[in-house]
Symmetry: C2
Subunit: 319 residues, 2 copies
């Protein structure tokens, strides 16, 4: 089996670099840290190689002393392991280090994985790469401590939206239960990862609600975020993430839209549906894309009122 | 063992009434419905007796055809089972029916349970009564179907705040995993139970954010909800629940306060802390109470500015 082969390659290696995808999320980062801490116990020379700094909310995770942030200098490792990375592009500039290694491994759960490494293990049924790394650590007979367990718990909890998404399986919960027995502080982690927010983000939420329109007999929710609103809140661009859920979560709303109009004329649309409307089909009409219930598009130099009118017409037809 | 005794009493009974506490929450209701559906499979005559209508968000749960809402008429049952009910008061008017039964059973997980029935089973380590009812159904050898599993999943998921509170154990996750294998639709339930909200509640959130003050170097968050705000949002009193978390979740905030000032002069205070401040001690100074991290008080006829000033002084001292 390929997983046995990968485990034996790792067992024999001396220096190992572990790489999560660019803009590492909880699963990419948590899995990398857990694997790094575990392999340290086998006296491996471990580097967790990131493209960017660790995101603020994951700063508290154990194992960050193993992290190196990308620099132009190319180091050589016996083995490089890419985690949660669908294709080589998602390694960013670190692709150079990956390609320079004599042995490369790719461990992932994305259905779109391009199998870009010498050894590829893609388990699409896994809710998180954290589930796969859990099994690897078990198979390699490395003992689970609170640090490893905390990282894996964060990996799994974040990629399942806190055990709420449809990817959550019986196995997900079995593993979470196992990790909690190893001393994971559930309440502390949940507060840090799921509930912690910035004052600016809260202010942005307030202003978004102020601008919220409910249309089409309560079936459509629309928010327009202008530069004025962003400035008033003092919010960063990434803090607009999730604003679209404000409308989607309202009872009776089927389609929620956030239009982010920038001063340079660019308009970014974020679409969500609750049950039956295929918003990716709507986004396609504007040369965007996505999934059935989550999609988006971007217009370089658009007229807000015109885009809004066309978009609402398309949504109305799909309702 | 008392649990075996309870199971054998239930097995021998013909008519059984099941009672969750007044203002039934997800655990009380989900546990009651699950037990009701399970016992129906043993051909018992089952009534789930509620004090009030089923809350809107739990309307979708299976087994609601077994529910009776309280009426003055007193019916007789062979056995009455109180679920998730700390003391007789929490049965409301249904206490009469409880007391009229020849055999009474009390199944709960509250440390404060007053053991008010003939047979009491209080397992304080259980995150939810749903965990106890899960074990009862297993012990009685009743097969788990999707309906029973959905009700138990909702019971457990709600009482653990979606597997986020410190009461979440390894056993909680083991049971959740088992229930998911029986066909529980995790994404659908999560959307309905955790994410669904009213437009009025969203508007109230927006207005609360507008009134949000950050004080004491970012350590204190304060919201005042006036009748004007409630009216502008069109929100109901119970929709103020959770508004206090807006402030608490902001990074750096240690104490969050919501003051609800009603037109009749009444002021209700809701206090939350994040890590070290004991807000119950502060609430005590105003003749209120609660837990270390969640407390409150009520003043019959208070001056808002005066209460606010005193409260902020007390908080400042505790910081």
């Amino acid at each position: 089996m390929i997983m046995n082969k990968i485990n034996s390659i790792i067992s024999e290696a001396k220096s190992i670099a572990i790489m999560p995808h660019i803009s590492a999320d909880g699963d990419a980062l948590g899995s990398s840290l857990a694997l790094g801490i575990a392999l340290k116990k086998l006296n491996k020379d471990i580097t967790i190689y990131l493209e960017e700094d660790i995101p603020y909310i994951y700063n508290f995770l154990p194992g960050t002393e193993l992290v190196n942030i990308y620099s132009a200098e190319i180091k050589k490792y016996d083995v490089v392991v890419a985690l949660d990375t669908g294709d080589m592009k998602r390694l960013g500039k670190r692709a150079e280090i990956f390609e320079a290694a004599p042995i490369t491994i790719n461990i992932d759960h994305h259905t779109t994985n391009s199998e870009f490494a010498m050894y590829n293990y893609v388990q699409t049924g896994a809710a998180a790469v954290g589930e796969i790394v859990y099994q690897m650590i078990k198979d390699m007979d490395i003992s689970f401590d609170t640090d490893i367990s905390t990282c894996l718990y964060v990996a799994i909890a974040t990629d399942t939206g806190g055990f709420r998404y449809s990817n959550t399986t019986s196995v997900t919960h079995q593993i979470a239960g196992y990790l909690i027995n190893k001393g994971v502080d559930v309440a502390e982690i949940s507060q840090r990862v799921f509930e912690s927010t910035s004052f600016e983000r809260v202010k942005l939420t307030g202003l978004a609600i102020k601008s919220l329109e409910i249309l089409e007999n309560g079936k459509v929710a629309l928010v327009v975020l202008t530069d004025d609103i962003m400035n008033e809140a003092g919010a960063k661009e990434e803090e607009t993430d999730g604003i679209v859920n404000l409308g989607r979560n309202i009872r009776g709303v089927e389609v929620s839209v956030v239009l982010r109009k920038k001063g340079n004329g660019e308009i970014k649309a974020n679409l969500r549906s609750k049950s039956y409307v295929d918003v990716s089909a709507i986004a396609n009409m504007f040369k965007g894309g996505g999934h059935k219930k989550a999609a988006g598009f971007r217009v370089e130099n658009g007229n807000l009122e015109e885009i809004k009118r066309r978009l609402l017409e398309d949504i109305k037809e799909a309702l």
